[in-house]
Amino acid sequence: MNLALTELRRQPSRFAVATVVLTFLSLLLLLLGGLLDGLYLGSTGAIRAQRADVIAYSESARDSFLRSRVTADMRETVEGVDGVTEVGGLGFTLLGATVPGEADLADVAVAGYELAPSGVPDPPPAGRAWADDTLQDAGVSIGDTLLVGPAATPIVVDGWVEDTNYLQQGALWVTLGTWREVQNANRPDAFVADGVVQVLIVRGDGDLAAAVDEATGSTSSLTRDQAVNALPGVKAQSSTFNVIIYSTLAVVLAVVGLFFSLLTLERTGLYGVLKAIGASTRRLFAGVVLQAVAVAVLAFAIGGFLAWLADRALPGEVPLQLTVGRYVFTFVALIVAAVLGSAISLRRVTRIDPASAIGSAA
């Protein structure tokens, strides 16, 4: 018989309010985290998939793919740098595409590449593409010919790849030649000459970024993680959502702290008696913490299930992505907040005088 758990079992209504509030807060944490993950993963998949030791931009591009232009001469210089083993060009063009049988345009990111990213096969034949499977939500099927951009450049979908989107747009992985064709037909203002790419994917050993930039004198190289964070909006999204998530956790802490402080206040008489008959402060406090953790676990279980239901019910365009990591993070954060929140009661439990049990008719 554990006093704290027995009370939870026999008097669940006492903990109902805290459980309901924490359930909604855990649901909120999961949805916020899921949206952050959805936005992050949907924006960065094409870069995270790159098997690159560094990504070399033109110096004037200020770490932007769309502004960057790397010439054939620069590429040749990079290929000659000590430690460099492989170099491949990469370029993106963001456009709308007409899908057969669909009224709405699909947002696509035409990605020209040479070195295959993780999960993406070697480049398909000219005019054909590996499409990110999220484009299925826009009605795209294998074998469809998408008409890309205002110039209606045709690209045939040959197969699916996963988690390779770029800035929330479904990636179409094509050869560099096809990409240049799409870019020049639809964005003549940003013409790309033969041999020119946006960035170079560089593989090799050693301090490649410094070596590449020193050799060319006109590139700015980033590691893959740096390149991910340099994508427009990624840092701002992450910091905004994280502020909201950590603020919500602070609310969880306050709710647990307030609830168990009030509960402890209500139990002052009982704790006085238990102390009088030999219960230590540590034992009573451990009971409070155990109850807070049990309530948090229950709230997480219900909130987690509700979040899963929401994930299934929401339309595909909502970038909600509930990962195992997000569930684990939210669970651990809730437990930590519950323990810290209940710790607020420690001072109150410590101050309860066992002598208060005597002479009290309360």
Partner: protein, 248 residues
Amino acid sequence: MSSSIPSVPALRLDGVRKVYGTGENAIVAVDHASLSVGGGEIVALLGPSGSGKTTLLSIAGGLLAATEGSVVVGAEDITGHSPRELTEFRRSKVGFVFQSVNLVPFLTAEENLLVVAELAGERGSARKAARARAKDLLAELGLSHRTSNLPSQLSGGERQRVAIGRALFNSPALVLFDEPTSALDTKIGEQVMELIQAEMRSRGTAAVIVTHDTRMTHYADRTVQIIDGVLADGVPGDGVPATADDHH
């Protein structure tokens, strides 16, 4: 009656003084009180409100530390005990029955007794033995049909009997009662006092019963008065008081 009382004192207070506050604001709650309670002896501690009887009971039970003097319960001198030592002492050496019963509201009658074993950390076979002991004790107290009832399902007298069972559960040498009949009507109060007397007698357990009700003092072997923190033997109006510890 006194011939059956073991000679080893269950409680010995020597020159106990309790002062609250300091300087001009100092209030002397208990003033050089000396009291000896023999093993198996039942002592009624009688006094009006504010006389210091609750403070004295708290000091005897290790709930309060005396400002001066010594407190010995059984063979254990608790005068200089740390709070942790006092917690252990209360858990294992002394029983309490409080004025307002104060059972754990979400535990059954049997579980309220088992709280003592829970606090002592009894597990496994000790736990099994504790459960059997609780059942026996409740049967002895006439509550075998109430073992699974919550306190809210028991009458006032039954609740007080459960509280007595809890106090006796770890077989202490001394049980301290704080106004055990104040919340009961006269008839039930007398039944409870009879039960206390019978239980203490059968176990040879000493008891100090704080009360302001002179009708209950005849259940005790001895009555000690406390007025303004000063102890004296006898019931009010029965002559010149003797010193409280001259029986032992």
